[in-house]
Subunit: 159 residues, 3 copies
C-alpha cells in the first residue's frame, strides 16, 4: 500500500500539478463564497423563494411577503452561475493541461491570470463596476482557458 | 502499452482513490436523477418551457396552456442547481484531496458525510422538510468540502 | 523533476487517457461556445439583464427598455444549463472510467457517442428541431454516462 501511496504522492509532489491544485482550490473556494453571499442577501433583504424558508417569520401574509425576488440576490446568483459556466471548463481543461507537461512558469502564468480574472469578475459583478470591467475580466479568463485547451489538444489529440 | 496500463491501474487500485471514485460516482448519479425527476414533474404537471415540447398536445391554445411554470418543477430545478453548485467543488477538491495522501479512514469519513449530506439535502428540498433540515444538510456538505480544501492547500500549496 | 515529469507524461501518453482528454476538451469547448452565442443574442436582440450593460445605449428610458428577456437568449441559456447538468457528470465519471482500464475501442465508442449526442442536442435546442430530437440526443448522452458509471463502480467500488 505504501508503494502505491508513494506513486500517488509523486503526482501531488509535481510542481505543475501542485500549482494546478492550489489555483483550482482557490477558484472553487471563491465560487463557494457566492453561496454565503446569496444567503446573506436573502436574509438581510428578506427575499426567499421556498415557503418553508419563511416559516421563521410566522405564518400567513407576514411570512408570504418575504417570498419575493430581490435585485441584489439575483445579481449574486447570476455571478454564481457565471462562475459555474467558467470554472467548470477551467477545472477540466486545467487538469489535463497540467498533465500535458507544460513549463512550470508558463503553467503558473495561466493559472494566476485565470484566478485573478475570476476574482476581478466577481468584484465587477457585485459592486457593480461600470462595463467593460466585467466583460473584460470574463474575456481574460475565457481566453486563458481556450489557450490551455489548445495545448491539451496539441499534446493529446486522439479522436 | 500494458506497462502504461499497469501504472494507471495502480491509481484505481489505491484504496483512497477507489473511495473517491465510488462516492464521486454516487453523488453524480444522484445529481443526474434530478433530470429524471424534473422530466417526470414536467410531464405529469404539463408544465413545459419550450414550445416544441408541447406539440404532442396539438397546436394552438390547447398546447399553449402547457407552456407554464409549475412550483414542483421549479423546486426540483432549484435542487438540481444547488447540486451543481456544491457537487462541482466536491469533485475538484475531493480529487485533489484523494491525491494528497490522506489516511483511508479519514478520507472515507469525509466522502461518506458529504454524500450522506447531499442525499439528505435532496429529500429535505423535495418533500420538503421544515427548515433547518435543508439548511443544515447543505452546511454539513459545505463544511466537509472546506475541510478537504484546507488539507489540499496545506499539502500542495504552490502559488 | 524530470523523473516526475516522465511519470505524469505517461498518463497523458496512455491512449485511453488521451482519448478522454480529447473528448473532454471538445465538449467543454462546445459548452463554452454557449457563452458566446448568449452574448451574440443579447447584443443583436438588445436584451440585457444588468443595468450597467445597457449604459452604452445612453441613460434613462432609452437604455431601460433594453433590460428585458428575449426568447432566443433564454433558449440559449437553457441549452447552456443543460450542458452543465450533463457535461459535469461526464467529466467526473469519464475521468474515473478512463482510469478504470477499459479497452481503447470501447472507451472511444463511449466518448464519441457522448460528444456526438451533446453536439446534436445543441443543434436540436437552438434551431430548434421538432421533438423527440432534443429528448433523444439528451437520453443518448445520459445513458452513455450511466454505462461508464456502472463500469467505474464495478471496478473501483469501495464504500
Amino acid at each position: 500500500r505504501s508503494a502505491e501511496m508513494a506513486k500517488l504522492t509523486q503526482l501531488i509532489d509535481n510542481e505543475v500539478f501542485r500549482a494546478y491544485a492550489t489555483y483550482a482550490v482557490i477558484v472553487l473556494l471563491k465560487m463557494m463564497l457566492m453561496s454565503l453571499i446569496t444567503a446573506y442577501f436573502r436574509i438581510t433583504r428578506k427575499a426567499f423563494v421556498n415557503p418553508e424558508d419563511t416559516a421563521v417569520f410566522g405564518k400567513g401574509e407576514s411570512a408570504k411577503k418575504n417570498l419575493r425576488t430581490d435585485p441584489d440576490v439575483e445579481r449574486v446568483r447570476r455571478g454564481h452561475l457565471n462562475d459555474l459556466e467558467n470554472i467548470v471548463p477551467f477545472l477540466g481543461i486545467g487538469l489535463l493541461y497540467a498533465l500535458s507537461g507544460p513549463e512550470l512558469s508558463t503553467a503558473l502564468l495561466h493559472f494566476r491570470i485565470f484566478a485573478g480574472a475570476r476574482i476581478v469578475h466577481t468584484f465587477a459583478y457585485l459592486i457593480p463596476l461600470p462595463q467593460p470591467s466585467r466583460g473584460l475580466s470574463w474575456a481574460v479568463g475565457y481566453t486563458v482557458t481556450i489557450l490551455m485547451a489548445y495545448r491539451v489538444l496539441k499534446t493529446a489529440l486522439y479522436l
